[in-house]
Amino acid sequence: MGFILEGLAKAVNLLASGDAETFSAVWATLLATGQAMAAALVLGLPLGFALGYFPFPGKRLCRLGFDTLMAFPTVVIGLLVYALLSRQGPLGGLNLLFTVPGMSLGLAVLALPMVVSLTASAVEQLDPRLRLALLTLGADTRQMLLSTLWEARHGVLAGTLAAFGRVVSEVGIAMMVGGNIKWHTRTITTAIALETGKGEFAMGLALGLVLLAMALTVNVVLALLRRRTGP
């Protein structure tokens, strides 16, 4: 159990000394997670909003679909994205397999259902009197949609954080689609898997603590932003 203390000490050492491998893994994690979340939000926010806001035939079926996709096994996502990006596959010509953008694609697929579903929930839970209030204050259609989305911001943020948590801690997709190539597609999570397999527990723990620090930083920043716009 001494490896826990060893791990702690190692974590501090890795960060303080600017260990190149560690920072390469940190950068890969940031890049892959950031791109995946950006894509998931750009696609998922409007989709989730529309799903929660507008009535249309088959709406409940759609909601059910996205809710189910939220629990999709990540290893199956990894498999499907690998098959898609393989040179034998339909997107093979893009040469995305074993690259960070390729990983981001897989991670975006993971995050998207969560963003859609939780945004839709947030919009659905809004005060039903809101529409009338916005109308009487003179909002046109575009302003109405944007203001409604802003009203739902806390629920949307919660959904975003949940998706981020899932993405940043993902090993399977990153491993399968990224290939765990040192200096290029080795993320913190795949590096931890590697170190654990080699029996290097202290190193694995150290990397885990680095990841924790990253996630904590993101959460703190978002919490501060949240404070400035409400409770």
């Binding site: 109308l135 009487t136 204050l137 003179g138 302003q143 203001s147 409770p231």
Partner: protein, 217 residues
Amino acid sequence: MSEIYHISGLEHSHGGRLVLNVESLTVSGGEIAGITGPNGSGKSTLMAVMAFLLKPDLGRVRFLGRAVDFAEPSLRRQAVLLPQDPCLLRRTVWGNVSYGLSVRGLKDEGLVRRAMDMVGLDPQRFAKRWWWELSGGEIRRVGLAARLALSPEALLLDEPTANLDPESARLVRLAILAEVSGQQSAAVVISHDQQWLESFVTALYRLDPDQGLKTLY
């Protein structure tokens, strides 16, 4: 005095039942029209038509001297409704009161402060308060301030003093009076409290489910 509203032959049904029946109603600039009547007489429906949120089955509505095209969105910005049970936006009091101005592309701190003063909410103390930090009465007053700030040609208020204490009701009355006086705008106020209406309106009407609109004075 300019004509704000001229309504004739208004009829509207909902679920097969006739819910609104107004033969004629005229509101001119500088007037405060009070409408009272029992529940279910169609008062809120009338307001919805006058705020151009609802197109009636039958009838002619003229606003500011022109026939109304209910599909025209800009009219909604000239006839502003404070609904019966208004909800606030998840913003500060300042954010709420200035919202209507911002959607019109306007930014005027003076208008916002004036509106808050009119409803008795001191800008120094209230501007930065969040929506959940307000009492029921304060919420209503913020809703009213948000609409006063817009200085619309027609101010429509549906039960503005329901559940309000007498002091707040007094402030609302004063705000309506201040808003309409000296301007070419008008106000239409619904209230079940006929006495309160009688204390400040220039014309009082009663809407009954079967008998339609009757002029009281």
